[in-house]
Structures are given as C-alpha cells and as structure tokens.
Amino acid sequence: MIENPLLRHGLLVLAVMYLAWSLGSLEIDWGRTAQGADRAGRIFSRMFPPDFSRWSLLLKGVTESVEMALAASFIGMILAIPLGLCAASNIAPKPVYLVARGILVLTRTFHEVIIAILFVKIFGFGPLAGVLTLVVASISFIGKMLAEDIENMGNRQMEAIRATGASFPKVLIYGVMPQILPRYLGVSIYRLDANIRHSTVVGIVGAGGIGQTLSASFSRYDYDFSLAILLTIIGLVFLGEFFSNWVRGRLR
C-alpha cells in the first residue's frame, strides 16, 4: 500500500518504537493486570442473572435521565438560536462572530464529564448539574450546526427580503428561517437522542440520572444490579435512536 519500501519499513520501525516507549512509560501493575481474566470471570459470574428486583430504583433513575435529556434539549434548542446566529459569518458582525465561535470551540473541546463536575461543584450533587451540562453540550452542538447551515444557505433569498425594506428580525423570519428550519429541527431531535446517551454518564460524577445509580451499584460491588442497569441503558439508547430516526424520517 505504501510504495516506497524505505518509508514503509521506517513507519513500521517507528510504530514498534512507539509501542515500546508507551508501554514502558505507562505505570502498569502487571501483577494486578494478570489477575484480570480471573477477576473478569468472577465479576461476570456475579453479574448473571441480572437483578431487576429493585426496578423502582431503576425506573427512578431512567425517568430522571430522560427528564434531564428532554429539559436540556428544549432549553438548548432555544438558546442555540442566538448563539448560532452570532456564529454565522454572513449575518453577525466580526467581533460578535469571533466571540461566539470562541464559545463554541471552548464548549466543544471539554468532555461533558468535565463540565458536569464543574457544575456539581457550583450547584451541588443532583440533576441540576446534569441538566446544565447537557444544556451546554446541546447549545454547543446545535449552535454549531445552525451557524454552518446559515453560512451555507442561499444569500440571495435574504438579499431579496432585505431589498423590500424589512427590518433585521423580519429578514430572519422570512429570509433565513424557512431555509434552515427543517435541518434545525432534525439536528435538535438528533441532539435529544445524544442527550439521552450522555445523561447516562454525567451521573457518574454525581450529576443525577441513571448514571448515578450505576456508579453507586459498582462501588458496592452490586454487579447483578449493575448488569440490569447496563441492559436498561442499552435499551434506552436503542429506543432513543429509534425515536430520533423516526421523527427525522418524518421531517424529511
């Protein structure tokens, strides 16, 4: 696949050197790792059969996760509009554009869990921190998509509306909105699906939802309950994806 033999062998040598270096520099407790297979066997045997007897706790966690996802998607969807408009170079003035793009890059770079733990420190444990985390992630995601759609849309239609003497807000609702609305709704629904997936992890740092239940069960070595939670999460994610695909299919 790589024609030059020197380059091909060079890359191979480099790869081996990298492996040696990285494995050598990692602080790996080989003794502990060697017990892995053994431990995995024990953990898996304790996982089966999954324990659904505490279903009320499970249901509470799932409901909280779904509610967090719904609330965050709705708030994020609305707040993403001003951010998206500000981050579109063909609408926003240069300084506004740069600030908005900066916010987008900053919020996109940090993993949700990092944002979640900062919110937990500010607002304490519970779903509020989780909702805020998902709101930030949603604004960032939908806002970026919106900005790109606005930049890629036809400026001609906007120009025509401007030429009628319409004010900026009216240019937005007649010249911009009809062009981007279908995609915006689609992206928002997709984000709802993503929020359901992410709502299962923010709980691990104490930001509410099913993740908190999962984390607690793991720390208590309650592995049969953990598996029940994991299966529920997989089911939930599956449903979320199915719902999102169905709605987006209908929007088209």
């Binding site: 239609q157 401007r162 030429a163 009628t164 003497g165 004010s167 007649y174 010249g175 009809p178 062009q179």
Partner: protein, 271 residues
C-alpha cells in the same frame, strides 16, 4: 423622480466598478441599461437601494438622498423601491402568497409578519397582482415547485406589492429561455407603464432592450457612455458601447453576452 449624481463604487481600492455616473429619470419611463458584462450595470442598480454601499456620489429619489440615510431611513426608502432579480430570489420553501406578501414586510409589524396575518387590502392586492402576472390559483404552491418563468412572475408581483416609486430590475431574463423572456418582459413593462412606475432595467439582451425600453443607457467600464432612445441605438452606437475589438473570438471567449446581443443588430430590430 430619480436623480443619480456622480455615483461611484470601487470594491478594491483604485479599481472603480462604477465611475462617476450621473443621469436623471424625470418621468415614469422604462430605462434599459446595456453594456458588456463587468460594465457595472448590476453595481449601479444595487448602489441605488444600497444592497451595495456606494463609495461616493448620491442617488436622489423623489427629493430624498438615499445615500446618506441612516439604517431606519434606508429601510423606509427601500420600501419605496421594488427589486426584481436575475435568479428570482424567491424564498424557496415559502408559498407563492407568502413570497408576494413579503413585499409588504416593511409595513406590517413583526408579529403580524410572523403569523402571516396581513391586512385585507394587502391580500386582495396580492390576489390582484397574481392575476395580472397570470398566476391565478398559484397562491398555495411552494415557490420551489414553480418553473423559472413562473418564479420571475412571482418576483414581479412581490416587487409591485411594495407599491414602489421606483422599480430596480437586475437581468430579469438572463436565466430564462427566449420565449419566456419576452413574456416576462411584456408583463413587466406593461405593469410599469400602467402603474406609472419609473423602471431601471439591467439587461444584456439588446434586442429585448430595444423592443421594450423607452430609453437606453449604455455603460462600459463603470462609466455611462450612452443615453438615448432605442431608435438612436444604431449599429455604430452598439459598437461604441461594446467596443469593436471585443467582438474578436479571443476577446469574447470569456464573455458571451456581448456576442449574442450584438452580433446581428439588424436582426435584433426585426424581432
């Protein structure tokens, strides 16, 4: 009615796209602007309603200098200038009626515009205009379902919906076939005359300009170099506007418009 004084525009410093253009339209007439591509026709039209900001000079509409207005004043002035575009520029996903009614956006409140709740007089006027442009019954069709000629007729209705004091028309037929072009031009010119609306019309198709315009302006390299009646647009005048050397195969290779408009002026008058 419309007075253009020393209007200039340069996109890059030192290279004028529009160079010291002055003229006056004193009566409601259809004024065609012809000239090779890149002559500044489109820039001239867009500098009048300031979709393109002129570098210097002034455009005075009914005694009001549009070039010095602030943004609120400019919006008020734009309400009085209807514009028709080469690519129709309809809002594709909106219905024909919404597109036509958008001509009234400068007059209705945001909330009414949002709810599509336009005054009864606007709606009946829109139906009237749709009938005039031959689109009765099309009001609920989406704009992207229409043919090019139909779209341009919606564009005309939208511009007239503003009840404008001036019509700015940018290459209305450049995206249409010859037959549709003539239909669209006929509707446009008829309505402009009937409503006594002065019309500034960019057009590269000289035969169309000669058969529909009351007056012809010729432009070249951003300068106004011809101003006369269609009859005065002789072969010599055309050569003067488009330049003889531009007809050679090498020179016209990059800009086909002058070629198709000019190559046979005799035929053009015969159309």
């Amino acid at each position: 009615m419309l007075k253009i004084e020393a209007l200039s525009k340069s996109y890059t410093a030192g290279i004028p796209a529009l160079d010291n253009v002055s003229f006056e339209v004193a009566e409601p007439q259809v004024v065609a602007i012809i000239g090779p591509s890149g002559a500044g026709k489109s820039t001239l039209i867009r500098c009048i309603n300031r979709l393109v900001e002129p570098s210097s000079g002034s455009a005075i509409l009914n005694g009001e200098n549009v070039t010095t207005l602030n943004s609120a004043g400019l919006r008020k002035a734009r309400r009085r200038m209807g514009m028709i575009f080469q690519e129709y520029n309809l809002v594709e996903r909106l219905t024909v009626m919404e597109n036509v009614l958008s001509g009234r956006l400068g007059y209705v409140s945001f909330w009414r515009a949002w709810r599509r709740n336009y005054p009864a007089e606007d709606i009946s006027h829109a139906f009237n205009l749709l009938e005039r442009v031959g689109l009765t019954g099309f009001q609920d069709q989406r704009a992207d379902a229409l043919s090019g000629g139909q779209r341009q007729r919606v564009g005309i209705a939208r511009a007239l919906m503003q009840k404008p004091d001036l019509l700015l028309v940018d290459e209305p037929t450049a995206s249409l076939d010859p037959k549709t072009s003539r239909q669209v031009m006929r509707i446009l010119v008829e309505l402009a005359h009937e409503l006594n609306t002065p019309t500034l019309l960019n057009i590269h198709d000289v035969p169309l300009a000669k058969s529909f315009a009351d007056r012809v302006l010729g432009m070249q390299d951003g300068k106004l170099i011809f101003d006369g009646t269609p009859d005065e647009l002789t072969e010599d005048a055309l050569t003067f506007i488009y330049g003889e050397e531009d007809w050679s195969p090498e020179a016209t290779a990059g800009s086909p418009e002058p070629e198709e408009g000019i190559s046979s002026p005799e035929k053009a008058t015969a159309v």
